[in-house]
Subunit: 220 residues, 6 copies
């Protein structure tokens, strides 16, 4: 399941862009030296990285829609990434466990936060393959797409302009996508219909939600 | 979870009692020779057995509340059983797989259909132990108690009068009790609240119910 | 995961269309009376149904690509369905267990076989929702789309011409979609690369495939 | 499964009561503002809370019967709670994950430690619903009832006197109740019968216990 | 886990050998044409096959030790196979699902029944690889080795004399080897120690065995 | 599955032996007082223990073959142990959870690092029972055998000379042995054959490996 969440306000987008504008970028292969499919640039200055990561992480954690969909347990510091003409990230799969300075994280969900206007560049769609189905995302500034890390996906070649995004990886309390999505959908129904329900039926809904969350959720 | 379901009408109770009245009973150990805890009598005539089993099985299968709670896949032919003073069935556990003439059945749920008035006998409660909690059932004629086969239970000694019941064992499409009960409860909420819901939310509820049933249900 | 499989030759398409042309159709709600979202027509004559179902079922079972993707255990008789202008099948979910004349089937996968040219009608796409992602299929005659039964999907309104398809439901030996797709992908890699491998590595691949199939597959 | 464990000595009961007697209590909704079913009072002073919680937590951890039944991984600081006439806690379900000052805890088991004599108040039973079965607990001072957090339960209205208890929530190393209870029962049999067994059979029992514990237990 | 079970009496061994002596054998690749690792001969006459298969199948089903270890649900008709000098069956893995005339069988366990004296041939050991551990079996006439189908195994080259065995494949009610072995071991302890136990502890043992069997066993 | 891994260089073996030579040993029952099967001696000096444990732990963590096979999450400090004539460790099973100074560890795998030449002592093989199969290991200095903690195993009596080993216990990210071994085997095939594969097939292999690792791996 794929979820688009507005994460950043216009002002926050501008802040991240300002940080990026004043920072140096390096070849993205610095963190994946053997990955020839990866052709992009990522923000490199320690300070700029820390500032942007903190702003983005705070925005994610503070977003209820994001939390409800993701059941976040750990969020990797988001990394600002850019693609200029000719750059692309060929079809690949995100690794299951990432070594970060703060420890290891299991990447259940991947998240791309778009930072500039899709009209500013040609190409550059996030393209997910589901067998013979193809889904493409090219979102507005401040919007994030959250998608399972275990699908084959690529960033299509940018042919004009610049694509600026931040990417991150999330370990969820509910690791299995089927279960996580079901819990999200059940919670949506309960949130939208709960106040109309007879109290004992709403209590039963909460019982069921808690039973499933306990049954499927990892230890904290 | 324990469910009381009215299964038989007064007339059907009378029919089963009439069949039993004209039939011979034998020591219950005939089907469990090594089980010294079992001290009761069970209906033995082939014809009476067939007639009563068919009536009872039809009543169970035709009962929507029973079906919703049990998700029946196979139901053993119910057997009329009686306890006269001094008889009891000590704490025991029902076997997981039963060899029946028609094949093997996995006993997920046990069911006792009470046939005579609790005022007609002293003792004879179905007593289920849940660690230090104790639950007792002594129901009205025609009512059935459906309970998990994998709990320690006993029939307490009858000290006066006669206790007449029919017992059966059910293989459920949803073998796990936690999952079966959750599906039952979710269906109850949907049945009671569904018509009040916005159509797209009700459709989502049905999606969730079908997802869980498919995820947890055995092959037909 | 979504898979497009060419199932019928041009001649077979013509045969099914000829059967349909000579048959009567009835309101699709005949098999789902309470489903107001369903607005289509389905083939009704017993003989035409039997002939078309047999032709289509034989084509599915005989298709290796279909078998490799689906791990079929049971296939419901495909039913020819048509949509004329104004008809649609609103967003819905396929039930988990279907009662068929030959017994019960668990619907793990749904399959739509397209029978006429997409140029012959406007609208009528099969539209699957994956949260905020949307996938649409409108295939060539003889092509089938196989998709998980447990997603929210709809047939968009036909606004011009006629849409003729056959639909069916499949119980898979590997009920879980994640596991089924992984086995399919692993088999594809083994099929494409196996002959190049060192014999002991290919034997190991087969061991792994058999281990997973045994671990995840239902009893036959 | 429900387990009654004597946790506190008479002296320890008196100590907790003395702490409670000198402390202020506040409306229990302070920690669940939207829960209208909750009508009770809970101990509020930081020092009194810390003292009582430490005493109670130490008593729980030091109790072998409790440990054997619960496989405790985390225990929330127990909170002294009181009900005066008219107070009750309507049927509710305990949430799956609790945010505590020290971190998040998954509540697998709930525990009520009774602090005053049941003769001192009318009503106030802990009432657990298991479908159509009902279980009530009103224990002696110092006794605790441990029960699954995921059942519908209530504290019945106190109609006379005062009910004083401490409540806590436990994250178990074996999250699933079926598995936890089975391990407890198997360990009880091994403890009671092990010394009589042939050494190789007792070793096999230990092998089985360790296999199940490893198979079902969470990472530490 | 590997189990040696005496299946055939000396007389039964002689009967099977007599059937084999009067029958024709064909290249074993007749049933696995693409398997170059398979270099053996298998009994081919329809009558001889039926006679030997029935004798062997009856012996297996009638053997309590075999049943306790295997939890048999389906047993493929055993096939008499022979290896003369130079023949071997290189390291391979048994397929998960076998197509047999009577339907499909999932091969959980493989079984080799040795028919002639190990002194009559050199080589020909059944060799199972468990990573860097190696286990070899060369049993007495009438003895069977039962082993998991999902390990890499081979029949080492026969360098002198003739190796005569019967092989078969078994679908178990408890598909998972870890679970099946645990149930077997628990049953062995209960059988050896049960009569010495206090009745309530023995009842608890039976409860646990039935709970596990129900929890892990497939539908009949 | 059993894996032999060369862990220590000759020089490292000498270092550990030097540490052991200068240290005192105590009766091994000091850490298992009730275990009468345990008849060995273990290194006791705090400094010697720390030095040897650190050297051995570093060697294990730094060994890629070990990491690939074990998916280590926690490794207990290895303990140098010796057996002189008459000493043995009877058939036993390793406990599921070990209390260590640094916290609790779940023992999924056990590991014995051999420190002196097998020619220096008679007896002393590590003997693992797999039902009726028996595997024995008596390795060269510096070699380690890694084996599942949940099998019945023993150290056979040393009848001459001295057996010097280090033992440790490992908590794996992939707790289940079936799954861990499958992931190891799949990675071996990918490592040996990956460079020969078409890029899209190798990407698919990585997708599958990451899917399985994510599906089966514990939270970090």
């Amino acid at each position: 399941m794929y979820k688009i969440v507005p994460i950043l306000s216009g002002q926050q987008v501008d802040e991240v862009k300002a940080i990026a504008a004043g920072a140096t970028f390096v070849d993205g292969r610095i963190t994946n030296p053997h990955n020839t499919a990866k052709q992009n640039e990522q923000l490199h200055d320690a300070t700029a990285y820390q500032q942007s990561a903190q702003l983005l992480q705070t925005a994610l954690v503070g977003n209820e829609e994001f939390r409800n969909f993701v059941f976040p347990s750990l969020i990797a510091p988001p990394l600002v990434t850019r693609y200029t003409p000719g750059m692309r990230y060929g079809a690949h799969t995100d690794v299951a466990y990432l070594q970060l300075p703060g420890g290891t994280i299991r990447s259940d969900l991947s998240c791309t936060i778009f930072l500039n206007d899709p009209a500013e560049y040609d190409g550059g769609a996030l393209h997910v393959q589901l067998g013979d189905a193809h889904v493409r995302f090219k979102l507005n500034p401040g919007e994030a797409i959250v998608y399972p890390s275990d699908t084959l996906h690529e960033v299509e070649e940018v042919t004009k302009g610049e694509r600026l995004v931040a990417i991150t990886f999330i370990q969820s309390r509910v690791a299995d996508p089927f279960r996580r999505n079901l819990l999200y959908n059940l919670n949506e129904v309960a949130a939208l219909e709960g106040l109309k329900m007879a109290p004992e039926n709403f209590t039963m809904m909460q019982l069921i939600q808690n039973q499933l969350l306990r049954h499927w959720g990892e230890k904290p």
